[in-house]
Amino acid sequence: MKTNDLITPEGTKDLLFNECIVRRKAEEKIHGIFKSRGYCELITPEIEFFDVFNRTSRYFPQENLFKLTDLKGRLIVLRPDNTMPIARVVATRLKDAALPLRLYYNQCVFTMAPSLKGKSAQTVQTGIELIGSSSKMADLEVISAAIEVLSACSEKGFSLEIGDIGFFRELVSKLSVDEDQSETIRKLIEAKNYPALNDFLDKIGHNDITHALKKLPRLFGGEEVFEKAAKLFSDEKIDSILASLKSLYKQISKIAGNGRITVDLGMVNRTDYYTGVIIKGYLEGYGEEVLSGGRYDKLISEFGYDVPATGFAVNIDAVSQIILKNSKAQPKSSDVLLFAEEGYEMEALAYAGKLRSEGLVTEHSFDKNIEDAIKYAEAKNINRIVRVGSEITEVR
């Protein structure tokens, strides 16, 4: 019989030594940034009821979820997202807590990866959720944290992109199209599929709105984007969305430095729970965004607690992968190898304790003679060898 006991499922992998070191270091650095801003960690279960994710506002295609059932036959999934479970916790156990809540997490999300495409089924994400304020200061706090995270993780260059989902929503709401059609438009804008978008909108009609929507995917870049957008369409709501995004853009450009902040009004993520400002972060050397987030003021109310929120998540695996490419981090070898002569095992244990209390990483040798122990130390790059017998001698 063929068994699969020597391999891991597709899209997963074992991390060894320096891969772990790099990942933990990245996590530590980022968590330091979160903690210094007053964020507290929470941990939610790896498995959740499917119902937590089965929401009209956020659609997780069921074919991408890892599924199980509980003892009563109810559908359970490996969590595909961290924000929904946190919304659940906030709406239940934290319902009476003083606002704002500052939460951070560091846990895996699971999605079935398409076969043989080199994508992961299991991804470690760390991120923050700031719950209870819809103020501009809250947006600034979250975005400035995102900038600090990106700059701490970037070896070469980073870029943070902002947009506002409201711009697209306002435009589409003025168009007489049904839900399916507006979803098609959204998809084409997201994919920046200029030719297909033009064809589709031509069928709907020729007016200011379709003209503006055709240009939407091209509205990305620096400050000039705001000028271009203002020319496309103007009414009270759209003007105010653009004005507040522009002032945010100017403020965060000051924090991040020149050229690091860009705008994309055509950023219309599938995660349609966003209600306002959205952000994406890129690091040079990785083919997808490493950070994404935004404002989601209506999500928690779906769990019965109406409270505004904003946040972002960082893909730790991506960050580690970039750092690994550029670094030669090796696990540190031990400081001391202890060789115990026969009958002096207890003395060796005691002496090891003493060395460790001095902060030296100490390991025991299991070799039969000191020559083999020296060979082992050389192979493992251990510089100091101590022999414990009737007396303690420094071999080298």
Partner: protein, 209 residues
């Protein structure tokens, strides 16, 4: 000069048409014309690096960001899908996806579940899904036209250019599914990090289509 932009071209006709287009833009493509067996070739005056790959691989390389751009047929995009920006219709490599069956038969007749032979199972599935039809799909690697002739399937979903092959084998188009042409695709991060260079190139291409 900055690191060259890497563009993956689908080997064969699309590669030739793209090189023709780049030459029309005034770039010196001698290195690609005289490539020998090399797979990565420079176009120095455009600051481009051409990578030659099979159609499916063009998408894979662009998705992973190891190539910034790619030229690939809409047929491959529809079959593979993926996450990238589809910025321009290059206009060449035109043909279409169509459903074909033996001449003179009524494909939609009867209640039985139909069997479809195709090289493009995803395209076929989503076409029949949109019609609310359950079909059995059989993947064929070579000449799909054989399947209905050998009575393995009721019809085929395939690329049709002129229709000559269909005609010579006693088949006819029942329904067109989608038009196909070459597309310029761009990695989502490359477009943001190298916006100016990519937009300039696309601008040039659009002027010369």
């Amino acid at each position: 000069m900055s690191k060259p932009l890497r563009i993956a071209l689908t080997k064969g006709r699309l590669e030739k048409d793209t090189i023709g287009l780049l030459e029309k833009l005034g770039f010196d493509c001698t290195a690609v014309r005289e490539k020998g067996r090399k797979l990565i070739l420079p176009i120095a005056d455009a600051n481009l690096e051409v990578v030659l790959a099979k159609a499916n691989d063009v998408i894979t390389y662009v998705e992973h960001g190891v190539c910034d751009m790619g030229v690939v047929g809409k047929d491959t995009i529809m079959e593979m899908s993926g996450k990238f920006f589809e910025l321009a219709d290059l206009g060449f490599g035109r043909c279409r996806f169509a459903l074909a069956a033996k001449k003179g038969t009524d494909f939609y007749e009867g209640y039985g579940v139909k069997t479809i032979a195709t090289k493009y199972p995803n395209v076929a599935r989503s076409f029949f899904e949109s019609k609310g039809m359950d079909v059995d799909i059989v993947k064929i690697e070579g000449s799909v036209e054989l399947a209905p002739l050998l009575e393995l399937s009721n019809g085929i979903v395939d690329i049709v250019e002129t229709g000559t092959t269909l005609k010579e084998n006693g088949l006819e188009v029942i329904e067109d599914i989608a038009p196909i042409s070459a597309r310029l695709i761009v990695n989502t991060v490359s477009l943001k990090l190298r916006q100016k260079e990519i937009e300039n190139l696309i601008g040039l291409i659009e002027e010369n289509l």
